[in-house]
Amino acid sequence: MSSVLFTWHNNGHSISEFESGLKLALSSDASSLLILACQDNQFTAPQINPLLSACPLPICGGIYPQLIYKNQLMEQGCIIIGFEQEVDISLIRQASKLITDEQLVEAIEQTSLMNAQVSSNGSLLMFYDSLVNNTEDFLDCLFECLDYQTNIIGGGAGNLEFKQTPCLFTNDGLIDDAIQIVALKSKITTAATHGWQILKGPFLVSEVDKQTVMSLDYQPAFSLYKDEIESISSLRFDESNFFEIAKNYPLGIQGINNQLIVRDPVLTKDGYLQCVGSIPVNSMVYLLKGSSDSLIAAAQDAAIKATTNLDASADKIDFSATMVFDCISRALYLGDKFNLELDSISKHTSEQTLFGVVCFGEITNSESGAIKLLNKSTVMGSW
């Protein structure tokens, strides 16, 4: 079992505070460490690398805009989690250079992930540099290589400046452009929700290049998007407020059973909409809307699902931890009300350690088992 044995968090942003937390972790009986840090700590590689490389235990984790500890949103500080058993950590460096499926599969097959033979009782955590440019291709190949229905949860690390900086913790120091996959020896109970609802549509995605939607219903994408939003609200787009408005109106790709995969438009250029995550050509998309209530309710649904033991015969819940990957755009959208989302989650996790990150892109299995990159969603897992 990869039960959580040690937990430490601190809201201080100094290296010395982190160092003291690390010392405590090392003096515990933990076999591996998960380190999460806030971007506002402004840890640099020269400061932190000596501590990481001197650490005798396997290290994983990353730097995120904000962290979650119980119902608290941390703007600064660190969380250190110590696992009871040593976890297997696979690292794929220079991930953006892996372009073809063959290269991706080869990189995956060369990791210890394949040797670790993630069993049906095992699960994966995934930490990655959110500016790796081929995350979805990687996920497709990972799913192809892994055993049937291996559960996974994860989220993109990085900073709100969208500038690539070292953001993953390894025993070799902080690194960028990499993907880290941590094999736990426990089964994770996962859940993913978003709370966004259909406002208008569907629209046919008539022209697209991966994450850039060029036309919807054969019209320039931004033009249609703008007209639709301005027709149902008093909001008006100008040259500088795209994201301010767009964060309220994501797109949703219609799936086979009416489920929606949310795609977050983050900028417009040349009349196109640039999203986080790809949108297939010829697919149908909807314009979505949300509300604080719907988002918070959805987060609570995820919390209930992720903390309910699937084994109905078990008479008590015996999870040691629940980890949350909550989208940064939800925090931005909810603002002060984001604490309500955390409250709604934490009230279902009184028995176990609740921690998590506010991230760029969330990873989990769809209902079918395939591994998906989500936007504007709350992904949770308990083990």
Binding site: Q117, E144, Q149, N282, M284, S366
Partner: protein, 610 residues
């Protein structure tokens, strides 16, 4: 309306995913991935109809063929290949039998949906939900398109395979055209091309390169004695060792026979150091004996080299220069390698001119035979050794020690040898017309190595004797000890046959070849000639006395007469007599002389004048 739109968009998207790659498996993988994402599959599998070789085929109408698993996403299930799943396997079998869309709910509540890819194979989707009929029906026209694309890919794959096979065949042809069949090294023709390229680059970039010419020493006896199979193995082993020196800057080639060439394309400024190091490496490769069939072969080589473009920028010339340098190294008996100098060519040119002059001399009757009489202890003439003399029209009387080695390097020695044989027989005939002293036995002629290994040498001698109508016993052959030993089997056979025809044999320069007694015993010779080096001042040298004594005893033991060469003083004569040697040749008795003078000398002896 929205559902209809959704189905159309779904149909469109999946259809658009067909045929995006040329390779069959790649094309189907793209298709399956899109199906996966759009239909929210749990797993997807494709099976193709295959021929007996396991290659995908398009079935003709009414044709059947076994299906084989091609692709699954994900690859694994419960620690084994996805396609090994029992429920899936039996579903595939059933689908193949009924040949129409089929579905099945598994024990874990998952669903399997099977589709026929017309005339090509089977497509299976696993879902966690029941796939609507409308969607299943929407897939039908897509499957026809997929079948067409599969066929295109199969044709493409077979074309790719054909092109690949052709490329492999072409590469083989090119390889054989460029490489030596035995050793696999670059052959002479390809070496010329590579060298030409290296020289062009060297000229263009103002750097130097080198051709290193390697010739194995004493390889021929291995071929002759052990056979060509062993010889080839030795060459192959050496070639493999030499190949270890090859890199981007060094090409290794077999030039022919036991000759190899290394081309160093680019030398640094201190090129001498690099070349010397390379020569050391080559010698080191031979320091370990070549072992084949538990026999050990220890070889050495001679190495010559030339620098391009300084010494020449012509491929033929630079190889020739390195060859000349190797030849000089061989003559100098050095393993250190020699660099080509222009004087080497001058020397060769002079030799060639000299050779031409010799040829001309033979035609112009410039060669003469002189005879040095041989005596017994009573002062009777017992025979004479024929010695060739060349009266060069410009240089005067040339020494045989100069022109015989040059003639031996070419086949000219055969012409000279034949001339000597003919002339000696002519002279013997003349002598036979006189009244020869009873003590006179024969005229000896010297035989060279090249004559000895001529396959028809024996018949040439017999034919010449016959054509000149002389008594065969009046001719004897002188062969040096070392020549006999190097060609022992040929020599023994030849001498035995000639002995049967009453033609004798003398072993010349005896004592210098350190031959073993075993060999000597087998040689059917009549005379041992003590080399002049042991005769000169024998009366003052205990060492020479010891050797001469040994040769004399050996002669007695082997029943051979012993004749001392180069007797010049009475003291030497007396010493030899004391030791038991009773036959002599040397200036003390008489100098070499033309036939008429010999005939006069014989006349004088007959008439008792001297």
């Amino acid at each position: 309306m929205n559902n209809a739109l959704f189905i159309i968009s779904l149909q469109h998207e999946i259809a658009m995913a067909i045929g995006n790659k040329l390779d069959l498996k790649d094309m189907l993988k793209v298709f399956l991935k899109v199906c996966f994402n759009r239909l929210n599959l749990t797993s997807g599998h494709i099976y193709m109809y295959c021929d007996d070789n396991g290659l995908p085929i398009k079935l003709a109408t009414q044709q059947s063929a076994p299906h084989q698993h091609l692709l699954s996403i994900p690859k694994m299930k419960d620690g084994q290949a996805s396609c090994a799943d029992r429920e899936l396997s039996s579903f595939v079998k059933e689908l193949d039998e009924i040949q129409q869309p089929h579905s099945f709910q598994c024990h874990n509540s998952q669903y399997l949906f099977g589709f026929i890819i017309p005339q090509q194979g089977l497509l299976i989707f696993e879902t966690h939900y029941p796939l609507e009929d409308t969607i299943q029906k929407a897939l039908t026209p897509i499957l026809q398109k997929l079948a067409t694309s599969c066929y295109s890919s199969i044709v493409h794959d077979s074309l790719v395979q054909e092109i690949h096979s052709r490329e492999v065949a072409e590469k083989q042809v090119i390889y054989h055209a460029q490489h030596d069949g035995l050793t696999g090294l670059i052959n002479r023709q390809h070496l010329n091309n590579l060298l030409d390229h290296a020289i062009t680059n060297a000229v263009f970039d103002s750097h130097s390169g080198s051709v290193i010419f390697i010739d194995l020493n004493k390889f021929k006896p291995i071929n002759d004695v052990m056979g060509h199979t062993i010889g080839d193995q030795v060459l192959l082993s050496f070639a493999q060792r030499l190949q270890s020196l090859a890199n981007e800057n060094i090409d290794v080639a077999r030039f022919g026979g036991d000759e190899f060439i290394l081309v160093i394309k680019k030398l640094p400024d201190d090129h001498q150091r690099v070349i010397e190091q390379t020569i050391q490496k080559i010698n080191k490769l031979l320091s370990v004996p070549i072992i084949f069939e538990s026999n050990s072969y220890k070889l050495t080589c001679c190495i010559g080299y030339a620098i391009f473009p300084q010494q020449s920028s012509d491929v033929t010339n630079i190889i020739k220069f390195a060859d000349i340098a190797m030849y000089e190294a061989k003559k100098a008996n050095t393993l250190q390698g020699m660099q080509y100098h222009t004087d080497m060519s001058d020397k060769i040119n002079k030799r060639l001119a000299y050779s031409d002059a010799m040829k001309q001399g033979l035609t112009n009757n410039e060669f003469k035979l002189y005879y040095q009489a041989q005596y017994n202890h009573n002062g009777d003439i017992i025979g004479a050794e024929a010695l060739i003399r060349w009266a060069h029209p410009i240089f005067g009387m040339e020494s045989p020690s100069i022109y015989i080695p040059i003639a031996e390097e070419t086949d000219l020695i055969l012409d000279i040898g034949q001339w000597v044989l003919e002339q000696a027989c002519r002279d013997i005939y003349q002598l036979e017309q006189k009244h020869l002293p009873t003590t006179f036995r024969n005229i000896a002629i010297n035989i060279s190595a090249k004559q000895l290994i001529q396959h028809d040498f024996q018949s040439l001698i017999l034919k010449t004797i016959k054509s000149h109508n002389i008594i065969p016993s009046h001719l004897t052959l002188e062969l040096t000890e070392s020549l006999l030993i190097e060609n022992i089997d040929t020599s023994i056979e030849l001498l035995r046959n000639l002995k049967a025809e009453n033609i004798g044999c003398a072993i010349d320069d005896f004592g210098t070849g350190y031959s073993s007694l075993t060999y000597l015993q087998r040689i059917p010779a009549n005379v041992l000639k003590i080399d002049r080096s042991f005769v000169t001042n024998i009366d003052q040298s205990n060492e020479s006395i010891a050797i001469a004594t040994m040769i004399i005893s050996l002669g007695k033991m082997l029943n051979m007469e012993v004749l001392a060469e180069g007797v010049e003083t009475s003291a030497e004569l007396e010493c030899l007599k004391t030791l038991g040697c009773y036959h002599y040749q040397g200036f003390y008795f008489s100098k070499p002389m033309p036939l008429p003078e010999l005939m006069s000398l014989l006349d004088d002896k007959n008439s008792g004048k001297s």
